[in-house]
């Protein structure tokens, strides 16, 4: 059976072009990060990574990410369910609204939270009176991280759930299944890859967010410095190796999540075969 573009010459040409371009455009930066991080050898790399402030930054970054993911997951699933399973006025508007974080520059995202919850903001003023501090502390970092990452899960789920339709779920309703059972037994197996992909994107963005976090963090070393902020400071302090060591850590986290995704897909493909 023949398909378009199956001729060996075309095939080889296209694959070659794709590989060369990706290597130059995507792989090379990745290689550069690790090359820079290890220019002075493993020992220096390790000393930079195990530095007290680096460890604190890693801890904070993981903490924020772990809290962000479940929130985005619940919201993403609820929203995708709502806009793909029901029709109601304002559906398309709602769908566009969740794109706001894509449309807002991260620095502006940080700014609007600062204006609202900072001491001069109308919510922040009240909070300050009650001695509650959100901005320049981890809650503020968490809030802006949720803001910038919340569309990912929903954006992954909506096209898929729209394409799949609700026939299966409707059948399950007829069979008398409860809402929770339908979701767990019918919907979830169908959307799990999209869900996983959404979580991976959320995770990646939460770990790496810089612009929005830098506005609300206060950059207190060892307390409100996330790993990307820490990296920027090291870079500013002429510690290029240290900065790229942190960059390599972030790249490793990124590679690990990408590998986890690939591995799970592969296992599922094998099980289905």
């Amino acid at each position: 059976m023949q398909r378009i573009g199956d001729a060996p010459a075309v095939r080889r040409g296209l694959i070659g072009a794709a590989l060369v371009l990706s290597a130059l455009f995507l792989l090379l930066p990745l290689v550069a990060i690790f090359a820079q991080a290890f220019t002075q050898g493993m020992g220096v790399f390790w000393a930079n990574v195990s530095d007290h402030y680096t460890l604190r930054a890693i801890g904070l970054t993981l903490f924020i990410t772990v809290l962000t993911i479940p929130v985005c997951l619940v919201f993403g699933v609820a929203l995708a369910w709502l806009v793909t399973r029901f029709s109601f006025p304002g559906r398309r508007l709602l769908q566009t609204l969740i794109d706001i974080p894509f449309a807002v520059s991260p620095v502006v995202a940080g700014l609007i939270y600062l204006l609202l919850y900072g001491r001069n903001g109308w919510v922040g003023g009240w909070l300050d009176g009650h001695d509650i501090q959100l901005m320049f502390a981890w809650p503020g970092i968490l809030m802006v991280t949720i803001f910038v990452t919340c569309p990912f899960v929903a954006r992954e789920l909506i096209p898929l759930m729209q394409a799949q339709g609700s026939r299966e779920e409707e059948a399950a309703v007829t069979l008398g299944a409860s809402g929770a059972t339908i979701f767990r037994r019918v919907t979830l197996p169908n959307i799990r890859w999209a869900l996983l992909y959404g979580v991976i994107l959320t995770n990646a963005r939460a770990v790496g967010e810089f612009g929005a976090v830098s506005v609300v963090s206060g950059a207190i070393r060892g307390q409100t410095n996330t790993l990307p902020l820490h990296l920027e400071q090291l870079y500013q302090d002429y510690n290029t190796v240290g900065a790229f060591a942190s960059a390599a850590l972030l790249a490793l986290i990124a590679l690990f999540t990408l590998a986890a995704k690939a591995g799970l897909e592969w296992r599922a493909a094998r099980r289905e075969a």
Binding site: G118, F136, G222
Partner: protein
Amino acid sequence: MFKPSWIRRGILAAALGSSVVVATPALAQERELLNSSYDIARELFSAINPDFIAYWEAEHGESVGVQQSHGGSSAQARAIMQGLRADVVTYNQVTDVQVLADAGLVAEEWQQALPNNASPYYSTTAFLVRKDNPKGIESWDDLVREDVRIVFPNPKTSGNGRYTYLAAWGFAEQAFDGDEEQIHDFMRTFLRNVAVFDTGGRGATTSFIERGLGDVLISFESEVNNIRGEYGSDDYEVIVPPVSILAEFPVAVVESNAQRNGTEDLARGYLDYLYSEEGQRTLAGFNYRVHHEAVVEEFAEQFPETELLRVEEVFGSWEQAMEAHFAGGALLDQLQRR
């Protein structure tokens, strides 16, 4: 099962682990001071803080901690206005402390609270050129030559960049005896010779050193000396022009926060320490010019004599300088228009 239990266990473990990491400062019982400072002072205060902690412990028998927060000086001041609970500020521009005073967070008379206009150390704007100074750059008028490319941070985003701009202006005003048209021409050429406008001082350094852009980097004298130390004293030379601007580094206690945190005595002690002989010696070690006589004598060779113009004398006041030059649509914007 969609999520294998190990994933769940892993997430739980990560959550617990990281919450321990985050929660530990809360366990510390000692009093802590938060110093909000400008970007390039991280190493400086990393060196001063342990000394101060030891000094305080010896003097008062109390063990304390000092936290650092660094960023663009103006952005740092803004963060305090929006609720960052810093006890003291150590900035590189008077206006950034003044906005805090205007907002009632810093005492109105803060400049009188400590010696030398509450500025424990000072510096000026100097040049860093490549080995053997191939373009023969000695003063500001060399920077408007056709064959010279300059690197300094954007005056819009960086206090450091503002000092450079003001210094060049101050020079031009002297050189052309206040002739406005000639000053403007000079400044226009000066700005046109900029090879790259980074947002901060350190970005400019990277452009000059790592990327090899430009013939001269303009920054604080302290900073160019530190850079030369960092990147090899054989490859670069420091030029202090005969006329330049006085850069003060004002400090103040953020009264409302210190009261709230119960750290007023600690905050004052910290700022006083910057004026002590020990503190001044550390500062001079980082190539800042200081006031303590014994230390000044000790480091005399390091700081060439040069005429330092005061912003207040050339431009009236900081407020006027900001208004006339750096505000939206003001002189800087006009001079950059093509």
